[in-house]
Point group: C2
Chain length 366, copies 2
């Protein structure tokens, strides 16, 4: 990856904002700018921060536990440890570096952290300026290298799905299927699942974010599998819905409506269209069939280093899509007590349309 | 769990702070007070908030995706959905409920979220008051029901370790071992691992937070396994270190120093001792042997609904331990290029000493 090019673009933004430096706390932003993949244990236990000066060096501030990894994964970046926390280290570093105005990622910094930083850094003549979404604005458009990595992530995800689907009779419960999926992901070299795998059978499918449990699989019960993995940092995300045995008429009808909505969404997507317009094209199919109230979420979301990122394909997203954005297209119908159906593909927005990364068509057009 | 008793204690704190209500955003706090276990996808994608009035009802605010789960898992709590986000919903609810002073968890709320909330709620006459750690102060002391659940979590974790250890020759790489561990965890009914399982062989052991990779296991290479699971909401955390074949003299020497430090730490712990004193007792053993610079982290941390929580056993933690606190005792020695050794047990602080939950002693006293 061309980190220097990314830093150059960010530095232009830093200059435009009249900042002396910016502190990057958001994990995917950190990785995007440096290659450092240290895992945070939630926002309260960071594995490090990038300190990027408008001109001059880039520092990776971290603690003892991540020193070797930080040094191994980055180039042209000085790793500095903070035995007593990042705020104290910043208090020492910033005055020496001549930083008077420090930007911070207000959308990934806790309110209490800002209060502590303001107090300590204020005494040293450093003021804190909220700077939201600067790196996300870069990340939203993927270059061809990234598009290729995202496609590979989708392809591996499909390989895993197909393997598990073909040995489906081996599994007894939802959790068995989830384990088989996540084991195969890691065996094939994925870093980890990009989110907790959803395997929902029968009525559990009515929960869009169902947690796999000990519910038994039955030949005539439908199954929702929503799965994704991280490969070389980049995420995939796919949902399939099927019935091991012969589906009921009702299942067939709803499945076909969802698939038709998905097709309408994919057909609508191209550079220049608004997120809400793509959502509307797919949603109209479901509304027309009388299930509008059963499709309570957005049509799709962006994917990249994070599995959920901009842009959003929601009824409220007025922003126009641009070439190089990656989105999912995932309409669904959920009926409490009966179950649910969601079908999700992922691909890239091109000038002329949507390039769907998914090759797998098991149970899509039934 | 006695949620009413917990709510009663929290409401006393709310009253003392002169708040009309508090908004609970921290996931473990939410679960502690309500039983709702909805999974957040990071802090920016919450699965819900508790709104607790000083007097009156408790609300669980969430979105469409989590509605059924929220209703199934809670009692005496009204679930309200926010199709347009929690801030807009609060803007509608709070004035009607007569809330003028709303506490929020400043240690688990983003700076940008507070800015948005202040702006919208300010117009409605609601002021926001940072309220940090109110629920954590309750969570830090476990009752006997919780202690029993934590012990069960440790016991299941050991069962998994022993199973994987006994079939050790089946595995080729670090990642194979990690997969076997996490698969067994889920098969035995754990919700999930409490953190990403660490399996580090040879020199990789020098990274305290190593990510399992494709490094091959060798009979004469040492192995660090740091693993934990969540059972009924409660976490376990254990580290073992061993060599499949005969260990070298150097390995034996370092392993015995770490174990001696661990014993010293466990022997020091009892109600009334400071966290830093426990750390010091263990650290002194390692310093005396000349490896003080190779033990760069704290002796231990609290465990409960979160795998890392208060109290801390660090050189800087002046607070006194109390009966009913749960802590890990995990000294380590890390030598870049050679590897590392860490041994971690977990147990409860009692008036008279430390009750170690770990029964497994494989490779502890070699």
């Amino acid at each position: 990856m061309n980190y220097q090019k990314r830093l150059l673009k960010l530095r232009k933004k830093i200059e435009r904002k009249k900042l002396d430096a910016i502190l990057i706390s958001q994990p995917e932003n950190r990785r995007y700018l440096s290659g450092y993949s240290g895992a945070d244990h939630g926002i309260a236990e960071s594995s490090g921060f990038l300190l990027i000066l408008r001109t001059g060096p880039v520092f990776l501030l971290t603690d003892f536990r991540f020193k070797l990894q930080a040094e191994q994964e980055t180039q042209d970046i000085e790793v500095i440890l903070y035995p007593k926390g990042v705020i104290e280290l910043l208090g020492q570093l910033l005055p020496d570096l001549g930083v008077a105005k420090l930007g911070f990622e207000s959308h990934y910094t806790l309110h209490s952290t800002v209060a502590q930083m303001s107090e300590l850094l204020g005494k040293k003549g450093v003021s804190l300026i909220p700077a939201e979404g600067l790196v996300e604005d870069l990340r939203i458009i993927k270059d061809e290298d990234e598009i290729s990595l995202l496609k590979q992530s989708v392809q591996l995800n499909e390989k895993v799905f197909e393997e598990v689907y073909s040995s489906f009779s081996d599994y007894e419960t939802e959790i068995d299927v989830a384990i088989a999926i996540e084991t195969a992901m890691r065996r094939y070299g994925a870093e980890r699942p990009s989110f907790e795998t959803i395997v929902a059978t029968g009525a559990n499918g009515a929960l869009p974010h169902a947690v796999p449990g000990t519910a038994k699989l039955r030949k005539n019960k439908s199954l929702t599998i929503d799965m994704g993995l991280i490969l070389n940092g980049y995420c995939s995300d796919m949902t399939r819905n099927f019935v091991p045995n012969k589906p009921t008429k009702r299942y067939l009808k709803l499945h076909r409506i969802v698939r038709q909505a998905q097709r309408a969404g994919m057909a609508a997507i191209r550079a220049g269209i608004r997120g809400c317009e793509a959502d509307q094209c797919a949603r109209a199919v479901i509304v027309r069939e009388g299930y509008g109230d059963n499709f309570g979420h957005s049509l799709g979301h962006g994917v990249g280093l994070a599995v959920h990122e901009a842009p959003s394909l929601s009824p409220r997203s007025r922003k126009k899509l641009k070439a190089g954005m990656i989105v999912t297209v995932e309409p669904g119908i959920y009926i409490p007590g009966w179950g649910g159906i969601r079908l999700e593909n992922m691909g890239v927005v091109r000038e002329e349309g949507f390039e769907n990364f998914n090759q797998n068509d098991i149970w899509l057009d039934i």
